[in-house]
């Protein structure tokens, strides 16, 4: 892979140059949260380079929370791709890039989803290195480093960035401002990169026994821990909204009054919601919250996408900071391992509902 150097002070001017020709999206602070947002050229300086995780993962740009698939007229269904734009998305951490690669396994293969594929093809991905907080689990899930899937990746070595060029489109971006980039790394640069990786590897405080989870999911499928978690779960669906590898969606037709066309709309869904598994006759084979959580964690910790797919958790930590009752990959994995866990859902079953 071609690796260049970019001086720290040249990052914003470079992104500015990009934003002159394309719609730039990146991490922006809003109400104390960082979100991926559109960044107009004059607001480049507002980009937040020191965030840990955004509120919603980048999937929202490839499968928006709600979008129109078809306009429905009396002639039939007309495809609507109008929401898909040429974009450059900056600020993707390794876990989020891995998250997209996981979604590719579902959406881009085996009857490729034309909406997702178009959005992916029209969006350049610019990765950015990060530093873990207490909720990051990506070292355990082996997604703390990314070697593919991006167009450019920026590793922050304080005075300058190492810029990894992952695709020919990424290379084209470099050629917008070639004068900013330095070819050829010297021994010292390589040394500082290795040091940075070592320090970062030491910085991870929170771990799960990820490789053991597929077996434990199988062995502990009937463990009472699922009933405990189910009893506390609010079935709010937040975990699915924030998880970069939750792919489920619902489809419904909207009719409008008068002669205006209707629409077929696709919107995010979650297996933790009650309506998710209804079948004809109003029968719900997954009525219990515990069985819905088992499905969620089967996909995160055991297998995702097909019989032999690997588990999909990329360790971003979003479920850890989001679930109001503390059900997350950390507390569930630790419980599966037999550890004593201090989480609301455990206390709930022991104290609130003994």
């Amino acid at each position: 892979m071609r690796i260049l150097k970019l001086k720290r002070q040249n990052l914003f001017p470079f992104l500015q140059a990009i934003s002159n020709g394309a719609e730039l999206w990146g991490p922006i602070k809003k109400d104390n949260q960082t979100i991926f947002n559109f960044v107009p050229t004059e607001e480049i300086a507002k980009l937040n380079l020191n965030f840990t995780r955004t509120l919603l993962p980048p999937k929202k740009l490839f499968v928006p929370p709600s979008f129109i698939m078809f306009q429905v007229t009396n002639k039939g269904y007309q495809e609507d791709y109008s929401w898909i734009k040429e974009r450059v998305l900056f600020g993707l951490h390794p876990c989020d890039l891995h998250g997209l690669l996981n979604l590719d396994r579902i959406f881009a293969q085996n009857f490729p989803d034309s909406y997702y594929v178009q959005a992916r093809q029209k969006t350049l991905l610019l990765g950015l290195s990060c530093w873990p907080d207490d909720y990051c689990l990506c070292q355990s899930t082996h997604t703390d480093i990314i070697e593919e899937g991006f167009d450019l990746f920026f590793t922050d070595l304080e005075d300058y960035y190492l810029v990894w060029i992952g695709s020919s489109k990424g290379d084209d971006l470099i050629r917008l401002k070639p004068e900013f980039f330095e070819e050829g790394l010297n021994e010292k640069d390589i040394e500082s990169y290795i040091k940075w990786r070592e320090r970062r590897a030491q910085a991870f405080k929170t771990k799960i026994n990820f490789v053991f989870m597929p077996d434990l999911m199988e062995l502990k499928y009937n463990s009472p821990l699922w009933e405990k978690a189910g009893a506390a779960c609010l079935a709010c669906g937040s975990c699915s909204m924030v998880c970069p590898t939750c792919n489920c969606y619902n489809v419904r037709d909207e009719i409008s009054l008068g002669n205006k066309p209707g629409r077929r709309v696709r919107e995010w869904d979650s297996c933790t919601l009650l309506e998710y598994s209804l079948v004809a006759g109003g029968e719900n084979f997954r009525e219990k919250k515990s069985s819905r959580l088992k499905l969620w964690y089967t996909h995160k910790l055991q297998a995702f996408g097909s019989k032999f797919g690997k588990p999909s958790c990329v360790g971003c930590g979003r479920c850890l900071v989001t679930c109001p009752v503390g059900i997350n990959v950390k507390s569930i994995s630790d419980s599966l391992e037999g550890q004593k866990v201090d989480a609301f859902w455990v206390r709930f079953s022991e104290e609130v509902r003994p």
Partner: protein, 285 residues
């Protein structure tokens, strides 16, 4: 980017315009639909396997999966039997002949026809299970020399609820087919066949060669348990007992997640599963 780079990307969710050629009631709440894709070339080249399903759209009402109950050995028209249960099916029931609907497919794995060739085929049907199993049955009859014995056991609640009743009475006259019918209760007083649940028909099937028999089961969930017990008693191997599973489906192509059982997507890996597969689905145990 690990994305299939097809320049001429087709939209797997785009319903193809189709016309209702015929529609009539089979029972009070089940209707039979004959459908043809408007594009004649597509209509004639629509290839599918018995046991596969299609997604049917009613403009403005929505989309749902339905088993194709016609046979690929008679191309051109697609047939469905549909029970009225909700939004899409209610809208479908209101449509007149010649109305336009949307259709896409075929999806799912279908029955393993090639493996069944040269073997005995035992079909056990209950209620609306007649929809997917009719496709296999007609296929076997159209290719009669490729299969050995073909046996049908069909049970329904009452005579009036027996879907394709006339068709089955005609089939009973064929000498190359063993067909046994039963109703749980006869409220007409004119029923000439067996009375009792479908499992009471098993003693009528003589000299089963279990190692060379494929058993196909389709019906309401309560039926499976009892029928499978009989099949195991006959020593039919678990991987030669085939059944179809019904799950909510919003895409049919492995994207929406709705049909997941553990880590299996029913729309891609099913809807036909062997009893051996089903035994390993933790959610069903």
């Amino acid at each position: 980017m690990k994305v299939e780079n097809k320049s001429n990307q087709t939209n797997p969710f785009l319903p193809e315009p189709a016309r209702i050629v015929r529609a009539y009631h089979l029972t009070q709440d089940v209707k039979f639909f004959q459908v043809r894709l408007v594009d004649m070339e597509k209509a004639l080249s629509f290839r599918y396997r018995p046991g596969q399903f299609a997604m049917i759209s009613v403009l403005g009402a929505g989309e749902a999966p339905f088993s194709i109950s016609s046979t690929p050995s008679r191309p051109g028209l697609l047939e469905f039997c549909i029970r009225k249960v909700g939004t899409v099916t209610n809208a479908l029931f209101r449509l007149k002949e010649n109305s336009l609907i949307g259709l896409r497919g075929p999806y799912g794995n279908g029955f393993p026809i090639e493996a069944m060739e040269g073997k005995d085929v035992l079909i056990v049907v209950g209620g609306l299970g007649a929809a997917p199993l009719r496709s296999v049955l007609l296929y076997c009859l159209d290719n009669r020399d490729q299969f050995r014995r073909v046996i049908v056991l069909y049970g329904s609640k009452r005579p009036a609820e027996m879907i394709f009743r006339e068709e089955y009475f005609d089939l009973k006259k064929r000498s190359d087919l063993e067909c046994h019918l039963a109703v749980d209760a006869d409220d007409t007083g004119t029923w000439t066949e067996n009375i009792g649940v479908v499992t009471t028909l098993f003693p009528k099937v003589k000299e089963v060669d279990p190692a060379n028999t494929y058993a196909l089961v389709c019906g309401p969930p309560v039926m499976y348990k009892f029928v499978i017990k009989e099949l195991i008693k006959l020593n039919i191997p678990k991987h030669q007992i085939l059944m179809t599973l019904e799950r909510r489906m919003k895409c049919g192509v492995g994207k929406c997640g709705h049909c997941a059982i553990d880590y299996i997507y029913t729309c891609l890996d099913g809807p036909v599963f062997t009893y051996w597969d089903v035994l390993h689905m933790r959610e069903l145990i």
